[in-house]
């Protein structure tokens, strides 16, 4: 088979798997698991084959037009370059791992068939986005991901948090998608095509009339999907979904789509210096803000969510300085270690029976109970904190090197201001990243207190994928020498300055946090807080759902906990209160959007009930009144009827005679 055929099969297989899973889900439950795993697994193999065949060489383009669609044609097009094939490999591998993990994680869930089908559909949509060479087809995958995320985040729809979170995720991403769609149309109107290759060619010839407007419109959609400030607020709340879904959303799909989209159309953004500066500022705010917020979270999954936002900020930063190689490099390595982190977190929550770091810090021996999760999570946290020689170090270095080059004027793709912004923010964020990674590790695995109850051995399906994904987490960095050839061709190797600088600040951040922890951990024993859900023997998803539901009840908020033993509280000082709530951005949105919308809805309801209904009811009342009046005339007395009839005809006769005379006279 040709590479094109194989590439077309990659998104198609999970899609067919999803359809089949939905079809047989009720009638033949035995087929659901194979139908969930095998298509995705095959797609992963095919994606690897495609990647090998493509080999980072010239981009493979194939297009077919199903039907004429007016002035701007829409093609079913494939555009396979180094970015596409590598990201596809990441997506399929992570999706396969997530599907495997889910078989154990949701093993008793009644809604597992639809869940697995939606995960397959989600994967398929992401692969469509990755491979598509036509922006309209890309948009289809983009929107399918939106609706899939809505369903998957709301998997535990019995809980109010999940319902609210799924709705929020959908609405916030849609808020970005509207300008995104307008931007796509504007782009097509300027360049005359939806095909990425033609658009890039047109941009290369300077055929873009409104680069800044288009870039900013597209950025809104990217910010929504990739959870960049100020549209990031859906992502921490999306933790109300099952952990494998979080892993899928955060590592491979959805949030990666925005970054990947910008990477694909980077020349369009690079045509506008203003858009790049905006992107840089957005990335910087996202990086630092999310780092601070992550340090204050109590829910272990929310810590990871904010860390995802921060890492996405790094990728945006790389794009802002015009280096899409670094961005996608970081996207892939981040996908690997973030998948490990989330999947391991699922194991941790299951074993500990809680998702609260405050509660975990008061348990002993969690690391001994789940050694697989402990070790892989340690490795992934080191990668997250960018400690050499793990994957995160190299990819983050690539970003910082690109920023440094831009700042110092070695690269002229982006303004130097963007470079400085990214460099400074990146180094600050590195400190914060190290801090919250160390805090997470210390609180989760170095807790002191009662022994964690034994829930038995974790399922092999869950632990094995951790090790599978740990391999790229550890070793992906060594590909740094040749991976640049798959991308734009320039090297992604770290420079000495930034390497020393960033590693240094990382170590500082980690050590300070360790010191703070040593200082506060003594308090932990004195203030016993925390609640544990103990359900030995049930599926992990149930434990997680109950833990999330009880978090608000036990600690007061969904995000923070009043734990004086938290090193983050000591480090952040007065900022802690604001950071825990995500710097009150949700409250701001409530004031800015939710209340006006609710007010408008109340106004509409008022208008409907009081004004429109008045007319409707009035019509009915008048008709009834007339009916009553007419009914009064229906006496049944024939003489009355005949009288009225004759009187009427008399009037007509007189009128006729009078008019005849008048006309005769004139």
């Amino acid at each position: 088979m040709t590479t094109t055929t194989l590439a077309a099969l990659v998104p198609l297989l999970p899609f067919l798997g999803a359809l089949a899973g939905l079809a047989v889900g009720r009638t033949a439950p035995g087929f659901v698991r194979p139908l969930a795993i095998l298509p995705t697994l095959t797609a992963a193999v095919l994606a690897v084959v495609v990647a090998v065949r493509q080999g980072g060489g010239r981009a493979i383009d194939a297009a077919t037009q199903l039907t004429p669609t007016g002035s701007v044609p829409i093609d079913l097009a494939l555009h396979l370059d180094g970015f596409a094939v590598l990201v596809a490999v990441l997506v399929t591998v992570v999706a396969t791992c997530v599907q495997l993990y889910s078989t154990a994680y949701l093993r008793d869930d009644a809604r597992y068939p639809s869940y697995a089908a939606l995960v397959s559909l989600f994967t398929s949509a992401m692969l469509l986005v990755v491979y598509s060479g036509d922006l309209m087809v890309l948009l289809v995958g983009w929107e399918i991901m939106g609706i899939c995320s809505y369903f998957l985040v709301g998997h535990y729809w019995e809980t109010p948090e999940a319902r609210a979170a799924s709705l929020k995720a959908f609405l916030v991403t849609k808020l970005g998608d509207v300008p995104f769609l307008i931007g796509l149309f504007a782009l097509a109107a300027d360049t005359g095509s939806f095909r990425i290759t033609k658009i890039l060619a047109a941009v290369g010839n300077g055929g873009l009339d409104h680069p800044t407007v288009i870039a900013l419109l597209l950025l809104a959609g990217v910010a929504g999907k990739s959870a960049q400030f100020p549209l990031h607020t859906w992502l921490p709340d999306a933790m109300a979904g099952p952990t494998p879904v979080s892993a899928l959303i955060h590592a491979a799909t959805m949030v990666a789509a925005g970054i990947y989209f910008v990477a694909r159309l980077l020349p369009v953004f690079a045509a506008s210096g203003a858009a790049l500066v905006v992107l840089a500022v957005m990335a910087a705010v996202t990086m630092i803000g999310s780092g601070l917020a992550a340090l204050a979270q109590d829910d272990i999954k929310r810590v990871l969510a904010y860390s995802t936002i921060g890492q996405l900020g790094y990728m945006s930063g790389a794009l802002a300085v015009g280096d899409r190689g670094a961005a996608v490099f970081h996207l892939i390595s981040h996908g690997a270690f973030k998948a490990v982190l989330f999947l391991a977190t699922g194991v941790v929550i299951h074993a500990a029976g809680t998702n609260s770091l405050a509660a975990m810090s008061r348990m002993g021996g969690l690391a001994r109970r789940i050694p697989d999760a402990f070790w892989t999570m340690t490795v992934a946290l080191l990668a997250l904190a960018a400690i050499p020689p793990f994957a995160g170090f190299f990819s983050k270095e690539a970003v910082l090197v690109a920023a440094e080059h831009t700042a110092l004027g070695d690269r002229s793709v982006a303004p130097a201001a963007a470079g400085w912004t990214i460099l400074v923010a990146g180094l600050l964020a590195a400190v914060l990243t190290a801090a919250y990674a160390v805090r997470l590790w210390l609180l989760a695995f170095r807790g002191r207190g009662a022994e964690v109850p034994d829930h038995g051995k974790q399922p092999a399906a869950m632990t094995s994928v951790l090790w599978i994904l740990a391999v790229p987490t550890i070793g992906f960095g060594v590909t740094v020498g040749m991976i640049g050839d798959w991308f734009d061709g320039h090297g992604l190797t770290p420079s000495l300055t930034t390497a020393v600088l960033s590693t240094g600040v990382t170590l500082v951040g980690g050590l300070v946090t360790y010191g703070a922890w040593r200082h506060t951990t003594a308090l932990a024993a004195r203030t016993p807080i925390g609640a544990v859900v103990a359900h030995p023997g049930v599926e992990p998803a149930l434990v997680e759902a109950e833990a999330m539901t009880s978090h608000t009840a036990v600690y007061g908020t969904i995000a923070g906990a009043a734990d004086p033993a938290d090193p983050g509280r000591l480090l952040l000082g007065p900022l802690h209160r604001h950071a825990a709530t995500g710097f009150h951005l949700d409250a701001l949105y409530t004031v800015l959007f939710v209340r006006p919308v609710q007010g408008a809805a109340r106004l509409v309801r008022f208008l409907d009930r009081e004004v429109v209904d008045t007319y409707v009811n009035g019509t009915g009342a008048v008709t009834r009144l007339l009916g009553t009046a007419v009914r009064r005339a229906q006496t049944g007395n024939v003489q009355t009827y005949v009288s009225a009839l004759l009187a009427g005809s008399l009037v007509l006769v007189i009128a006729a005679v009078v008019f005849a005379n008048v006309n005769a006279g004139s």
Binding site: N637, Q639, T640, S643, A647, L650, V653, V657
Partner: protein, 229 residues
């Protein structure tokens, strides 16, 4: 005369209007006109009493007067045959039928205060307006038109037989079928069914005849009294 009148209606009207000058005006009525006027007044009076009297049987009798007056008018208009048919059929049979109807429905003898319905004033208004409109139109249209009554009678039995059986024989025969149908229909309608032999007692009208005072006129009252006994 019959042969002469072959012109169309329009030309005849025109001829009549042009000949208006030859005829005397309203102020010099001929004997026929005076007779017509007097009999007409009597007819109108009888008709008014027919529709206003409180005694139902009297109404039928005053109807005889009115219809008889009309018969006289027909005579004055030289339509002899129709006049006699009027007397025979209307006065002879129709009124008798009506009287029988009154008897069979146990109409009260004497004054019945509720002979007129509550619709009376509306009816009066409508009738008065209609009369005003009709009279105005008719007088306005035929102010200067005279009927020439000279010459042979136009409605003598001979003439009537002639045109009826020469020109109108087919409708005449059709009419006989209609009369037959009416006969059958009347029998079917008025025949009592076997299952429904008992007369349902009326709410108040049937109770009244027992309390009715003997009416002043003897001859119209007798059929009612017979029916009552």
């Amino acid at each position: 005369m019959l042969l002469n009148v072959t012109a169309t209606v329009g030309t005849t009207t025109a001829a009549a209007t042009t000949a208006a000058g030859d005829h005397p005006g309203f102020l010099s009525p001929s004997g026929v006109e005076i007779a017509f006027l007097l009999v007409g007044l009597a007819t109108l009076g009888a008709a008014v009493i027919t529709v206003t009297t409180k005694q139902l049987v009297h109404a039928a009798l005053w109807l005889v007067v009115a219809l008889g007056g009309l018969a006289v008018e027909y005579l004055l208009l030289t339509a002899e045959f129709i006049a006699w048919v009027q007397v025979l059929i209307y006065v002879g049979s129709v009124v008798v039928l009506l009287l029988f109807g009154l008897m069979l429905t146990r109409a009260p003898i004497g004054r019945s205060p509720d002979a007129d319905s509550g619709n009376r004033w509306v009816a009066l208004g409508v009738a008065a307006a209609a009369a005003a409109a009709l009279v105005w139109v008719v007088v306005d249209a035929f102010r200067t038109t005279w009927i020439d009554l000279d010459g042979p009678a136009q409605g003598s039995t001979e003439v009537t037989g002639s045109f009826l059986f020469r020109n109108w024989v087919l409708p005449f025969e059709a009419l006989s079928v209609l009369l037959l149908a009416a006969l059958v229909g009347a029998i079917v309608l008025s025949r009592k069914r076997d299952t429904d032999t008992t007369v349902r007692p009326g709410t108040n009208r049937t109770a009244k005849p027992g309390t009715v005072k003997p009416g002043p006129p003897a001859s119209p009252g007798t059929p009612g009294q017979e029916e009552q006994s």
